[in-house]
C-alpha cells in the first residue's frame, strides 16, 4: 500500500515536470509542424541558468524561476529569427528541418558543456528537505522541491490554458494549429504568433529546466536524456494538442512509476516510456486527444 501511495506521489512530481516541457514542445509542433529536437537542450540551458544564479553568483534560486524562462524564451525567439524563419522561407522539407533541429541541439548542448564543463553539479539547496506533515501523517516522502514542481506546474499550466482559451494570441495559436491557410486568410498575424509561440515554449521549458536542476541535478545531457520521454508524453497525448500533452505527461509518468514496480527494475523506467510511445504510434498515431489532421 505504502509503495503504491509513494508511486502516486512520484508520478505526480514527474508528470508535472514532463508537462511543463511537453506543452511547449507540442505548441511549437502545432503551430509550425516542427519536431524540435533542440527542446531538451533548451531545458538544459534553463537548468544551467539556475546554476549560474544559485551557485556561481550565490544568489537565491528563486531568481532563477524568473531568469531561466526569460533567457530560454529569448534563445527560442532567437532561433526563430536566425534559423527557422529563413529555413521556412527557403522552402525546406521535413528531413532538412529534422536535421536542422539536430544540428541546433548538438550545438547548444556542446556550447553548454564548453561553458560549464561536463560534470554533474548541484544547486546549493537542501534537496533532501521533505514535507513534514506528509511524512508524519502518511509515512510518505515528498521532497520540498517535488511539491514546488507540482504547484508551479499546476499554476503555470492553468495560466497557459487561460491564455489559449481567452486571449487573441491563444486563439491565433489554436487557429494556426488547426489550419494554417484558413487562419491566415482569416487575418491571423502568423509571424507574430509564431514568435510568441517560441517565447512561450522557451519560457515553459526554461522553468522546467530549473525544476529539473533542483529535483534531479545539473549536467549537459540532462535535457537530451529527458527529450524522448517528453516526446512520449506529447505523442501519447496527441501531438499538437496542449491538453493532450498535459494528459500524456501524467499517463507516461504514472505508467513509468507503476510498471517499474511490475518489472521490478528502476533502470527500465525511461525504456517503459519509449515502449508506450511506440505502441501508441502503432495503434493510434494521433494519440489520445490529437486530431487526425495534425498527424497527416
Amino acid at each position: 500500500m505504502d509503495e503504491l501511495a509513494q508511486a502516486v506521489l512520484n508520478s505526480l512530481t514527474a508528470g508535472s515536470l514532463y508537462a511543463l516541457a511537453a506543452v511547449g514542445l507540442t505548441l511549437v509542433y502545432g503551430v509550425l509542424r516542427l519536431t524540435n529536437f533542440a527542446h531538451g537542450d533548451m531545458l538544459t540551458l534553463g537548468a544551467y541558468v539556475g546554476y549560474a544564479i544559485n551557485v556561481q553568483w550565490n544568489l537565491p534560486l528563486a531568481l532563477a524561476f524568473v531568469a531561466a524562462p526569460v533567457v530560454v524564451a529569448a534563445f527560442a525567439v532567437g532561433t526563430e529569427y536566425v534559423v527557422w524563419r529563413p529555413l521556412r522561407r527557403a522552402g525546406a522539407g521535413l528531413l532538412q528541418k529534422l536535421l536542422m533541429a539536430i544540428g541546433l541541439a548538438l550545438f547548444l548542448r556542446y556550447a553548454i558543456q564548453f561553458v560549464w564543463g561536463g560534470d554533474r553539479d548541484f544547486y546549493e539547496i537542501d534537496n533532501t528537505a521533505t514535507i513534514a506533515w506528509v511524512r508524519d501523517a502518511f509515512d510518505l516522502t515528498l521532497g520540498f522541491y517535488d511539491l514546488l514542481t507540482i504547484v508551479i506546474s499546476l499554476v503555470v499550466l492553468v495560466g497557459v490554458a487561460l491564455l489559449l482559451a481567452r486571449t487573441l494570441l491563444g486563439t491565433s495559436m489554436r487557429a494556426l494549429s488547426d489550419d494554417v491557410d484558413l487562419a491566415e486568410s482569416s487575418g491571423v498575424d502568423t509571424d507574430r504568433t509564431v514568435v510568441w509561440t517560441w517565447a512561450l515554449s522557451g519560457a515553459l521549458v526554461g522553468l522546467a529546466g530549473v525544476l529539473a536542476g533542483a529535483t534531479i541535478n545539473v549536467y549537459p545531457t540532462l535535457g537530451w536524456d529527458l527529450l524522448l520521454t517528453i516526446f512520449a508524453c506529447v505523442i501519447v497525448g496527441g501531438i499538437g494538442s496542449a491538453y493532450g500533452a498535459l494528459l500524456g505527461s501524467y499517463v507516461i509518468a504514472f505508467s513509468q512509476e507503476f510498471l517499474v514496480l511490475v518489472v521490478d527494475d528502476q533502470r527500465y523506467k525511461t525504456t517503459i516510456g519509449f515502449v508506450i510511445m511506440v505502441l501508441v504510434l502503432l495503434v493510434r498515431p494521433q494519440g489520445i486527444l490529437g486530431s487526425k489532421r495534425a498527424v497527416n
Binding site: 519536431t35 534559423v83 521535413l94 536542422m100 524522448l228 527494475d265 525504456t271
Partner: protein
C-alpha cells in the same frame, strides 16, 4: 624490411574514419536511396559490436562467422523495426528509431549477464590471436608491422568492398526500383511493386553495413561499453552523408575521412587551441552541429549531390 612499422596517431585516425565510412554507407543506403530517415542507425552498430563479441569471445565462434552472424542479426532486427515503423510519417519514424537505439543502449547497460553492463566487454581475439600471430610470423621474415596496421588495412579493404557492393547493387534493377520508391511511392505501387518491401530491404542492407562497422569498432577498441553507442554516432553519420550529398557513394567515403577523420578524431593533432582537452572536445562537436546547420541551410545537396536528392527525400 619495415612495412607500416609505425603508423602513428594518423593511422589510428584513419582506422576510425574507415569504420565510419562503412557505418555512413549503411545510412546512405537507407536515407539517400531508400528514403527512410533512420535516426537509430547506432542500434545496428551496437548489435554488430555486441553480437559478434559475445559469439566470438564467449561462445568460441570464429571471427568471420561471428562478424557475419552479427550482420545477420542486425538485418533481422532491421526488418522487425521496419515492419511497424515504415508506415509512420517521417518525423514519427525519426523519433521511433531514435528511441529504438536508446532502448537497446539501456538494455546493454542493464543486462549485465549478457553485456557486462557499463563496465564494458572485451573483444581481444582479433588483436591477440590474429595480430600477434601475424606479427610474429612476419618478424621471422624480418618484416616489422605496427600492431594497429592489420586492422587499418582490413578496415580500408572492407570500405572498398562495401562501397563497391553498394554501388553495384544500386545499379541492378533492385536499386533502380528502390530509387523510384523514394521518388514516387505511388507510381511504383501502380507498377505492381511492393514499395514497403523495398524500403525494408534498404533498412536491412544499411543495418548490415552498420553491424560490420560495429564489429570493426569492437576490434579497434578491444574494450568497449554502452557509452560508445550514444545517438551522436548516428548524427555523425548524418553529417557525413549530408555533407557528401544524399545518394553519393564515393562522396560518403571522402566525407567520412574529412569529417570523422580529419575534423572529429584528427583535430587534436593539427589544431592547437590552447584550451583544456575537455573544452576542445566540446568545441569540436559545436563545430559539427554548426556545420550540419550550415549545410542543411545553404547547401542541402551536399558537396557532391544534386539538389533534387534532398527534395526527393521528403516524399
Amino acid at each position: 624490411m619495415e612495412l607500416l612499422a609505425e603508423i602513428g596517431p594518423w593511422g589510428a585516425v584513419a582506422t576510425v574514419a574507415g569504420i565510419y565510412a562503412i557505418f555512413a554507407m549503411g545510412l546512405q543506403v537507407q536515407v539517400g536511396h531508400g528514403g527512410v530517415d533512420n535516426f537509430g542507425q547506432v542500434a545496428f552498430f551496437l548489435i554488430g559490436a555486441y553480437a559478434s563479441t559475445i559469439l566470438v569471445e564467449q561462445h568460441g565462434m570464429g571471427l568471420v562467422a561471428g562478424t557475419l552472424a552479427g550482420m545477420a542479426i542486425a538485418m533481422v532486427a532491421a526488418v522487425i523495426v521496419a515492419l511497424p515503423t515504415l508506415r509512420l510519417r517521417g518525423d514519427f519514424l525519426a523519433i521511433t528509431t531514435l528511441a529504438f537505439g536508446e532502448i537497446l543502449r539501456n538494455v546493454a547497460v542493464n543486462e549485465r549477464g549478457l553485456t557486462k553492463g557499463s563496465a564494458g566487454i572485451d573483444a581481444f581475439t582479433f588483436r591477440i590471436d590474429i595480430v600477434r600471430e601475424l606479427r610474429r610470423s612476419l618478424r621471422d621474415q624480418d618484416i616489422l608491422v605496427d600492431r594497429l596496421a592489420p586492422l587499418l588495412i582490413l578496415t580500408w579493404v572492407l570500405v572498398l568492398v562495401v562501397a563497391l557492393v553498394t554501388w553495384l547493387l544500386l545499379r541492378t534493377p533492385w536499386g533502380r526500383v528502390l530509387r523510384a520508391v523514394r521518388e514516387d511511392d505511388a507510381a511504383v505501387r501502380a507498377l505492381g511493386k511492393n514499395a514497403f518491401a523495398y524500403r525494408a530491404q534498404a533498412m536491412a542492407l544499411g543495418a548490415a553495413w552498420a553491424a560490420l562497422a560495429g564489429t570493426l569498432y569492437a576490434w579497434n577498441q578491444v574494450h568497449f561499453s554502452p557509452s560508445g553507442f550514444e545517438p551522436i554516432v548516428t548524427f555523425a553519420g548524418f553529417v557525413i552523408i549530408i555533407a557528401a550529398g544524399l545518394g553519393t557513394i564515393w562522396g560518403t567515403v571522402l566525407m567520412a575521412i574529412l569529417i570523422q577523420g580529419v575534423l572529429i578524431e584528427g583535430s587534436r593533432y593539427w589544431l592547437d587551441t590552447g584550451l583544456p582537452n575537455a573544452q576542445e572536445a566540446s568545441l569540436r562537436y559545436m563545430v559539427v552541429g554548426l556545420a550540419l546547420m550550415l549545410i542543411v541551410r545553404f547547401r542541402p545537396q551536399g558537396l557532391f549531390g544534386s539538389r533534387a536528392e534532398m527534395a526527393a527525400a521528403d516524399e
